[in-house]
């Protein structure tokens, strides 16, 4: 990974137009803020439009407590990130494209959290996957970016497909795709389809929120530009999975399967991610793994159903979005100002980058969970909530370990680059401009303000926990909750965290040595893709041989199998009736003899004669059974065909039977089977009573409506005149085509 090559000194100043995305996000934030009083007052807003009424799918948007928190975070952080990116991406050759992608993502994400119809949620869900793909692969000239983008896309889109299946089952089980109705119902926990629904929905949510074992794509996604990492891959998109879990908690939650799966996935993700985070020396990678840890923690707490667990999940979600976006933006500013993100090369930056250092300190303190930041409150709630989860001791130990590791990583990211001796960055450090400072500073300060004034956040959490998650009450957010178990656990966190921070160099070596010996997920992913490609190549070589004869044989075999299979399954009553005039038998025999002649591999003249015989035999049958018009046409066509064949023979070589004996046997079996099926099918049809009502209509109407006495002619030129016209067009085009094919000079073809 290399630092972005653009610098704000080199590029031209971005025009006013590049402010529009930031202004749009700010305007959306303002508009959503108008929804705060009614929603916090307990009245969710709703807007709906019949999208596909025939399928019962509507475009429904609703704002309740949960949507409100998410949409404010998305639009608010969006505005700050867009402003930041205006400076960070200045001079980039695809500057405008970046903002289109980012704006498209923001709108998709807002749609996702505001939609209240399962299908609409799915559509927006996929839109966020697609825009995320575009943004991760933004530096598409690098193979690594393309690979990461594809990986993220395949993992999340595969989950998205599972989610769609889950949603369709949910719609079937609850009788509606409208989320409001589904959540108002009594839940799907007792439904027969509950287990498949749960598995499919969890697959979607876990892939999107990078839960173990689908966690590997998120650290790779860090090859996106830093504003994207700050916005998509920490504050918003990866939270879509936990959003969905929280959203569907009332309908799917509170069962053994739900609790067990979420606890296991969340706990494993949180602990593994914390250990991985400590291993990183790249600041951005370290932050990426702590994002995984946070997602794991939120998933873990959504496993529970107690007010404490759910309050902890929602509060920690807000806390994490604020400090993590800020820290990513800080890392971007460091990268921009020094040209590196390697922690080993950085130090003493507080002297040249004092404002960045302040923002980093604020956000880092919140991440470390120090008082009086909101991070402290979040951590206390995590401990309080973990007491209500089962197995509580295991959860508490896991959360303690994750928090202590996060404390250490916070020190590494927010403290280490700014203090201590001067580092050796690739170029002379400089402070970032105001646009790049506004975001981290505002978000860092919010962490402090919300910490001191926890009452500001409380109503939002209340609205989400009581309104959206259906709990009787939410736990309180208090800066000082008294001397209790969480308080002691916090002290233990700080002590353990400090130890880990001080011993991090030695730990890093140990962790790396251990992890390098374990099989990685990333190589496994590559093997999976390679295997898939090999399988695709193998089956293409088997099926797509490029040999027309094999395709034809396959077609005829399938025809025989489907016809024969249908006959075997339906077992129609066949009524063979061989009573026919001798003349008919004679004509039939004569026709079969013609067909036999056509099989002769030695004489083409015999072949043409045989085919002509068949044509005339068929024409005679038409005459006997009352179809003189058809017979006339048949005779003319057969004559013309024979003439054309005769002319063609002058230019074409003789025939040689090239098939081996075994091939001939095989083909004879196929031919016999198809012929047998044909006969049996016709017999099955004629054994069935005939519905003559269309014929009766033509018989009655051809004189009354079209004044014609020859019913067949009237059908062709009157009732089905357009079909006949189309038929003429086909013949005309065929003749033009044949003419063109024969006219083109042979010299231009391949020798």
């Amino acid at each position: 990974m290399t630092a972005p090559t653009m610098s704000k000194d080199a590029g031209e100043r971005p025009g006013f137009a590049s402010l529009i995305p930031a202004l749009l996000a700010a305007a959306l934030f303002a508009a959503l803020s108008c929804a705060v009083p009614p929603v916090l007052g307990g009245t969710p807003l709703r807007w709906s439009y019949d999208w596909i009424p025939s399928l019962g799918i509507g475009l429904v948007f609703a704002i309740d407590g949960l949507s409100l928190i998410f949409s404010l975070l998305i639009s608010g952080i969006g505005a700050l990130v867009m402003l930041y990116a205006r400076s960070y991406m200045a001079g980039h050759p695809h500057f405008a494209r970046f903002f289109w992608f980012l704006t498209a993502f923001m709108l998709s994400m807002l749609g996702l959290v505001l939609a209240a119809d399962l299908i609409a949620i799915f559509v927006f869900w996929e839109l966020t996957s697609i825009t995320s793909y575009l943004l991760i692969g933004f530096g598409h000239d690098k193979a690594e970016a393309r690979r990461s983008a594809l990986q993220a896309m395949l993992v999340t889109a595969a989950g998205g497909l599972a989610l769609l299946a889950g949603f369709v089952l949910m719609g079937t089980a609850s009788g509606s795709y409208d989320l409001t109705q589904i959540l108002a119902g009594e839940g799907l926990q007792g439904h027969a389809l509950y287990m498949p629904i749960l598995v499919l929905v969890l697959l979607g949510a876990f892939t999107k929120s990078a839960q173990f074992p689908f966690h590997f794509w998120l650290p790779n996604a860090m090859s996106a530009p830093t504003p994207v990492s700050a916005y998509l891959h920490s504050a918003t998109m990866v939270k879509a999975g936990v959003y969905l879990l929280a959203r569907l908690h009332p309908a799917l939650g509170d069962t053994a399967a739900w609790t067990g799966t979420l606890t296991a996935a969340g706990l494993v993700t949180a602990v593994i991610a914390s250990i991985f985070a400590l291993r990183q020396t790249d600041l951005k990678q370290a932050l990426a793994y702590t994002t995984l840890m946070a997602l794991g923690t939120i998933t873990l707490f959504l496993a529970g159903s107690s007010p404490y667990a759910l309050t902890a999940a929602i509060s920690f979600l807000i806390v994490h979005s604020l400090y993590k976006a800020a820290l990513f933006l800080v890392v971007g500013a460091i990268d921009h100002g020094t040209g590196t993100r390697d922690v080993a090369l950085l130090g003493g930056l507080r002297r040249v980058m004092p404002v960045t250092a302040l923002a980093a300190a604020l956000a880092g303190a919140s991440m470390a969970g120090l008082p009086p930041m909101i991070g402290w409150i979040g951590k206390e709630l995590l401990y309080a909530g973990s007491a209500t989860l089962a197995p509580s001791v295991l959860v508490m130990v896991g959360v303690l370990a994750a928090n202590a590791l996060m404390f250490a990583v916070a020190g590494m990211v927010a403290l280490r680059p700014f203090w201590g001796p001067e580092g050796k960055p690739p170029h002379e450090p400089h402070e970032a401009g105001w646009q790049m400072l506004a975001g981290p500073l505002v978000l860092g300060l919010l962490g402090l303000i919300f910490g001191l004034g926890a009452g500001l956040v409380q109503p939002f959490v209340d609205a989400a926990v009581t309104g959206s998650l259906g709990q009787p009450r939410a736990a309180g957010l208090h800066l000082w909750a008294g001397i209790n178990l969480p308080f002691f656990l916090s002290l233990a966190t700080f002590a353990l965290g400090t130890l880990i921070y001080l011993a991090r160099e030695r730990l890093r070596g140990g962790i790396s040595a251990t992890l390098d010996r374990l099989p990685g997920f990333d190589p496994g992913w590559d093997k999976l893709l390679d295997g898939f490609r090999a399988f695709a190549g193998w089956q293409a070589r088997i099926i797509q041989t490029g040999r027309l004869t094999q395709y034809l044989a396959a077609t005829f075999v399938v025809l025989a199998l489907t016809l024969g299979g249908t006959l075997i399954v339906t077992r129609p009553v066949l009524v063979p009736d061989t009573s026919a005039p001798l003349l008919v038998w004679v004509i039939a025999g004569f026709t079969v003899a013609g067909a036999a002649l056509a099989l002769n591999p030695h004489s083409r003249i015999a072949n043409i004669g045989g085919i002509g015989t068949v044509g005339i035999g068929v024409a005679l049958i038409f005459i006997i059974f009352g179809a003189p018009d058809v017979a006339t046409t048949q005779l003319m066509v057969e004559t013309l065909s024979a003439v054309l064949f005769g002319i063609a023979m002058l230019r074409l070589p003789g025939i040689i039977e090239r098939r081996t004996g075994a091939q001939q046997m095989r083909h004879a079996v196929i031919a016999g089977a198809v012929g047998l099926c044909m006969t049996l099918t016709v017999l099955a049809i004629v054994s069935h009573p005939l519905d003559r009502h269309i014929t009766a209509y033509f018989e009655e109407s051809s004189y009354a409506l079209a004044h014609g006495l020859n019913i067949v002619n009237v059908i062709l030129v009157d009732f089905r005149a357009f079909d006949t016209f189309g038929e003429l067009t086909v013949v005309f085009l065929a003749s033009i085509g044949a003419y063109a094919v024969l006219k083109r000079r042979a010299g231009r073809a391949r020798k």
Binding site: G546, V618, F622
Partner: protein, 120 residues
């Protein structure tokens, strides 16, 4: 009566499939013609066979007293025969053209668009 035609249709189909699988473009065309006759017979028989009573109305559109042959499959057959002929004529043109270009009529050796692996 339909049974005879059904048997005939099946036999023609079998002969047609045999010829179409032969790997020679000319014999494929023979098969195509036979197959189109076989299918036409099948459609004709499916509409039931009525001897010697073409679907013609009397003066002033009076329905004849006896049952007439089914007019619907006949109308379909007329279209099918003509379209089949168009297809055949075009395919014959292509066959002649292919022989001029490749110098042979072996279907499986015509690999201009999809060369076999290793043979570019």
């Amino acid at each position: 009566m339909e049974t005879v035609v059904a048997l005939l249709s099946g036999l023609l189909t079998a002969a047609a499939v045999w010829l179409m699988l032969s790997g020679n473009l000319l014999r494929f065309l023979f098969g195509l013609l036979l197959l189109s006759n076989a299918v036409n017979l099948a459609i004709f028989a499916a509409g039931r066979l009525t001897e010697g009573a073409p679907p013609l109305l009397g003066a002033d559109g009076a329905l004849p007293g006896h049952e007439m042959a089914n007019s619907l499959p006949q109308a379909l057959l007329l279209t099918a025969i003509v379209i089949g002929f168009g297809l055949f004529a075009f395919a014959l043109g292509l066959t002649i053209r292919a022989y001029r270009s490749f110098g042979h009529l072996e279907i499986d050796r015509m690999r201009l668009a999809e060369p076999e692996e290793g043979e570019k």
